[in-house]
Amino acid sequence: MKPFNTVGIIGAGKVGTAIARRAVAAGYDTAIASSKPREEIELLTQIMVPGATPKNVEEAVDADLVVIAIPLPKYQQLDPSLFAGKIILDVMNYWAPTDGVIEEFEGKVSTRVIAEHFSGSTVVRALNHIGYHDIDEKAHTGRGAAVASDDENARQTVMQFISTLGFDPVDAGPLDNADKFANGTDIFNGEHTAIEIQELLNKV
């Protein structure tokens, strides 16, 4: 059962288009936006995410759930006031070897920095530990997905959303628990069922 109808994906790269394809397949009214104006991603959307609608960022945020899937170092380019009152699904990771060292992310759960930037929104952390190939290839194969948020309702809503995408959601509790499935953790590094993820969450 879909918990809502509309999804806005911010980011038209490998990750954004993969999640958008799953959202379209699950029957959501799906919009996709990037740093480029809408016209410039029309062809990309038509071919990479058939069934989704290309939009500008300020239009794409008009959705029940907004997924942010841009390169993490660019997050400040998104105006938080556009996202006020929205549920945001943060799927981005901080990888110093590829992003360079960014002081504000050092020693922190990256999604906490995102939540501070989007302080008027409700941030949920999930899908960051599933690679973009696997978003396409491993949906509906019993693969588990950890979901964390400080907001109980938002967490449950995103868990339902993830379930409709074809992954088995696991309640990971509050946002700070996102460090249990950040890069470098066993959950991040391997492929796990929901039960295995639950065990790994309990262990850490």
Partner: protein, 346 residues
């Protein structure tokens, strides 16, 4: 279908696991290029990498040497990290190699999957996108220039006002490819610029790149480029031995070494060999097997991507040099003719 090899250099290890001399790595690579040329392979790509295990830091230097030491093979960079190099210098090096081996020298411009060049050459990763776009623009401006005199201005480098960039390639222009790992925006950009595109596919199912090639070709067509200008090449890991079992066995230790090294850099855990075998299965990203299997898989992938060139990285994680040469021999003498035969049969 052109068949070839690419390498970043692969430093050997002694029986205790200690890394050998990085100069020897270059000598081995040079030998592999010469052998590939003698046996009739179509392409050898030299990637830019700056690590002790993969020390092929300057593609232009070895391509110039190889230009003089080979007769028929096409030599290209795979890729030149132009974001952190000076496009004028890159162009000059490759134009000089083209003078020695006319029409056999190409540049592939890429961002590179690793970022060591940023601290090494004093650039900030903050400007990752801007550097790449700006320097690609300069590289293309030089290539498209009607004469030696180039005029250009951009945002990451001093402008050039009617200055000579010499020599010009004796074959007119150099083929300049755009290297990408599958970002949709890069495919669209390659099409808009009318550049041939080279996909580096090191994970997932290569057939899933089909929509990217459609996006590339469609963007190119919309920008007014002819179909024959819109070429696709594919680079994957690969290893060939007389049997599938032997090929899998020979590439595995190198794969494990590479994953341990990457894992230390990026916080991965111990490599899970199940991932190796899964990727090496039919439809996966690793082309490891017998000549019959690899030829069939190249042709099958061609049905999805329509690529005109497929080339393999065989030397990774200190795979013994002799094994790599054996794999190159089989690629040239067994795989390539089978691919030709299968393509003609299509």
């Amino acid at each position: 279908m052109e068949i070839g090899v690419y390498s970043f250099g692969d430093t050997q290890r002694d029986e205790n696991g200690n890394l050998g001399h990085t100069g020897e790595t270059i000598q081995n690579l040079f030998e592999a290029i010469k052998l590939s040329d003698e046996l009739g392979l179509d392409y050898f790509g030299i990637g830019e990498h700056h690590t002790e295990t993969m020390p092929m830091s300057s593609p232009g230097a070895i391509i110039a040497a190889a230009a003089a030491a080979t007769k028929q093979i096409t030599l290209g960079s795979g890729a030149s990290i132009i974001s952190t190099d000076d496009p004028v210098r890159v162009y000059q090096q490759f134009a000089i190699a083209d003078a020695i081996a006319p029409g056999r020298v190409e540049i592939t411009a890429g961002r590179g999957s690793s970022t060591e060049t940023f601290p090494l050459f004093g650039y900030s990763l903050e400007h990752y996108d801007q550097l790449f776009a700006d320097r690609l623009d300069l590289l293309l401006a030089i290539n498209n220039s009607e004469s030696e005199r180039v005029t250009w201005s951009g945002s990451t480098r001093a402008p050039i006002e009617n200055l000579a960039v010499v020599p010009r390639p004796v074959s007119g222009k150099l083929p300049i490819w755009l290297g990408t790992g599958g970002n949709p925006g890069s495919s669209a950009r390659a099409g808009q610029l009318g550049l041939p595109v080279s996909y580096g596919i090191i994970g997932g199912q290569p057939a899933r790149f089909a929509p990217l090639t459609q996006l590339y070709r469609q963007a190119g067509k919309q920008a007014g480029y002819a179909e024959e200008d819109l070429k696709v090449s594919v680079a994957t890991w690969g290893f060939i031995a007389p049997t599938r079992e032997e090929a899998l066995e020979k590439m595995l230790p190198g794969w494990i070494n590479l994953n341990i090294e990457m894992g230390q850099l990026r916080g991965w855990s111990q490599p899970d060999t199940r991932a190796y075998y899964a990727q090496a299965a039919d439809g996966g990203a690793y082309f490891i097997g017998s000549p019959d299997e690899i030829a069939q898989r190249i042709v099958d992938l061609h049905g999805h991507l329509g690529h005109m060139r497929h080339f393999f990285q065989m030397d990774l994680g200190s795979t013994p040099h002799e094994w790599v040469l054996d794999s190159i021999r089989l690629l040239a003498t067994e795989v390539k003719p089978r691919v030709e035969w299968l393509m003609n049969k299509k």
